[in-house]
């Protein structure tokens, strides 16, 4: 099982790294959001927030690629004609799907590199990470947590033909609700408890605390905690919807 997961992540990451569309999403879009954030924060009242904006843009892109990629993961396999083969294989379907969504999240590594270099070269933002070791631990924790959230989304969208578009429409709501660039304190009060359930909140917190100083350990712990919770929920949903799709013979329908 571990070999399946590891090889799956590596294989899917390599495939995605060769996709022009996915690489564009991973590298170009964080630069768009980071640039807007730099100008907004620089022109506004909080110039010290520029480095945080880089991290925020990175996590935004992680969710952006996962939201679209994970939602469309099953649709993609359906289009390639491999969905029934994967379902029919002896390996649990979730062990095949999880590496795909984590690999989408892993594209965030490119996003991070792109935003940090962009911020340094164009805006002179220093890359000073206070706890480099914690930062190196926080990054995969964030990637896995967001990838597992993508898995949960994918497991719910099994029967939804236009899943990729629904996933796309979740981009901005997720970015809003998790306080990646916007302080949660200025959003309506009910958003804060919602944000606690969402992986990007804890991933961003772990990266921010590692980079700017603080205690990232609780946030890393929450990343792992929500990952397990998403995984368990995904197993339940996937089992239910997979059975429903088998009963309806609806897997190959596009």
């Amino acid at each position: 099982m571990i070999r399946l997961l590891r090889n799956g992540v590596v294989l899917q990451f390599k495939i995605l790294s060769r996709s022009a569309f996915d690489m564009l999403n991973a590298i170009f879009w964080p630069l768009v959001f980071a640039t807007i954030a730099y100008y907004v924060f620089r022109a506004g009242s909080e110039p010290e927030s520029l480095f945080t904006a880089s991290l925020g843009a990175t996590v935004m892109t992680m969710w952006g690629t996962v939201g679209i990629g994970a939602s469309g993961a099953i649709q993609w396999q359906r289009r390639l004609g491999t969905l029934e083969l994967l379902i029919g294989s002896p390996a649990p379907f979730i062990a095949i799907l999880a590496p795909l969504t984590i690999a989408f999240s892993g594209l965030g590594i490119y996003s991070l590199a792109a935003t940090l270099v962009w911020g340094r070269v164009l805006f002179g933002i220093p890359i000073d990470v206070v706890h480099p070791i914690w930062f190196v631990i926080s990054l995969p924790a964030c990637i896995v947590a967001i990838g597992m959230l993508g898995l949960l989304v994918a497991s719910v969208f099994v029967l939804y033909r236009a899943a990729v578009h629904l996933g796309n429409s979740l981009e901005y709501p997720m970015w809003l609700a998790t306080g990646l660039l916007i302080p949660l304190s200025i959003l309506p009060g009910w958003v804060t408890p919602v944000s606690w359930l969402l992986a990007p909140t804890w991933g961003m917190r772990a990266l921010r605390e590692s980079a700017l100083g603080g205690s990232p350990l609780p946030a890393i712990g929450m990343c792992l905690g929500v990952s397990v919770a998403y995984g368990l929920l995904a197993i339940v949903f996937l089992r239910y919807f997979e059975r429903l799709a088998r009963a309806k013979a609806a897997f190959a329908l596009s």
């Binding site: 907004v40 236009a162 578009h165 970015w175 809003l176």
Partner: protein
């Protein structure tokens, strides 16, 4: 008469067949829900940073939604001919190319106008922004002008569909650029001079400026010069798109690449 039939009936039929986002399961999340949250996101970003008002972000983002509808719309209604393998059949027909392809731009524009107006209205209600009744006329002209100019640029992307297979990559790229450099979310004067020069040659920049001035109290007549420039930019892109369509059709025929992927 045949030209007009191809333009109106053919344009609408092609639009319905090739613009895959018309399906309500796609249309609602992408064309209606997505822009509302985009507006909210940037309005709250501005609030968090203490920069500009909600009105600034509402107008910028609601008008910029026309770019999504037009760039992706035109990209799909021409580019999808290749995906559905109908391109050679279409290009072997004797129908006027202008009627064929420009006919598809009309529904694209109408859709962009609807999506933009819807986003503006819902965004204003959610954010509590009051748009004066006197501004409605000017806003309508601004949205119309921006829809036209974005459709012109969209035609260029559509033309690329005769040459390449993944037009949406380019549309995605330009959509991102527009968010940064056309004054949608960042005041133009904050950008470097050379970026401002580029943005002046792109759709939306003048239209958004006109829309903001109108909401601030200017009359439609007072911003007419901005709207004229916006329309002129659209005409330039439209002509470029027509030229590219002709060029890529000839190239496709010469290299027998109309069906290649």
């Amino acid at each position: 008469v045949n030209w007009l039939r191809v333009f109106f009936v053919g344009g609408l039929t092609s639009y319905r067949a090739l613009f895959r986002w018309l399906n309500p399961w796609v249309y609602v999340p992408i064309m209606l829900v997505y822009p509302i949250f985009q507006i909210l996101f940037f309005a709250y970003l501005g609030r968090g940073a203490g920069l500009e008002s909600d009105t600034f972000f509402l107008i910028g983002n609601a008008v910029s939604v026309t770019a999504v509808a037009c760039l992706f719309g035109m990209g799909q209604v021409i580019g999808n001919e290749r995906w559905f393998q109908t391109l050679p059949v279409l290009l072997s027909s004797p129908a006027s190319r202008l009627a064929l392809f420009l006919g598809r731009s009309l529904p694209t524009m109408l859709n962009a106008i609807f999506v933009s107006a819807f986003s503006l209205a819902v965004g204003a209600i959610v954010l509590g922004v009051t748009i004066p009744a006197s501004a409605v006329e000017g806003l309508a002209f601004a949205i119309l002008a921006c829809s036209f100019s974005c459709t012109g640029l969209g035609l260029c992307f559509g033309a690329l569909g005769l040459r390449g297979r993944n037009v949406l990559i380019f549309a995605n790229l330009v959509d991102g650029l527009i968010l940064v450099i056309c004054g949608v979310n960042v005041p133009l004067q904050e950008l470097p001079g050379w970026v401002q020069t580029i943005s002046r040659g792109l759709p939306l920049t003048h239209g958004i400026e006109a829309a903001r001035r109108v909401v601030a109290g200017a009359s439609a007549g007072a911003v007419a010069h901005l709207l004229v420039v916006e329309v002129l930019i659209g005409i330039v892109y439209l002509l470029a798109g027509i030229a590219l369509l002709r060029l890529f059709e000839l190239e496709g025929r010469r290299t027998a690449s109309l069906e290649t992927f």
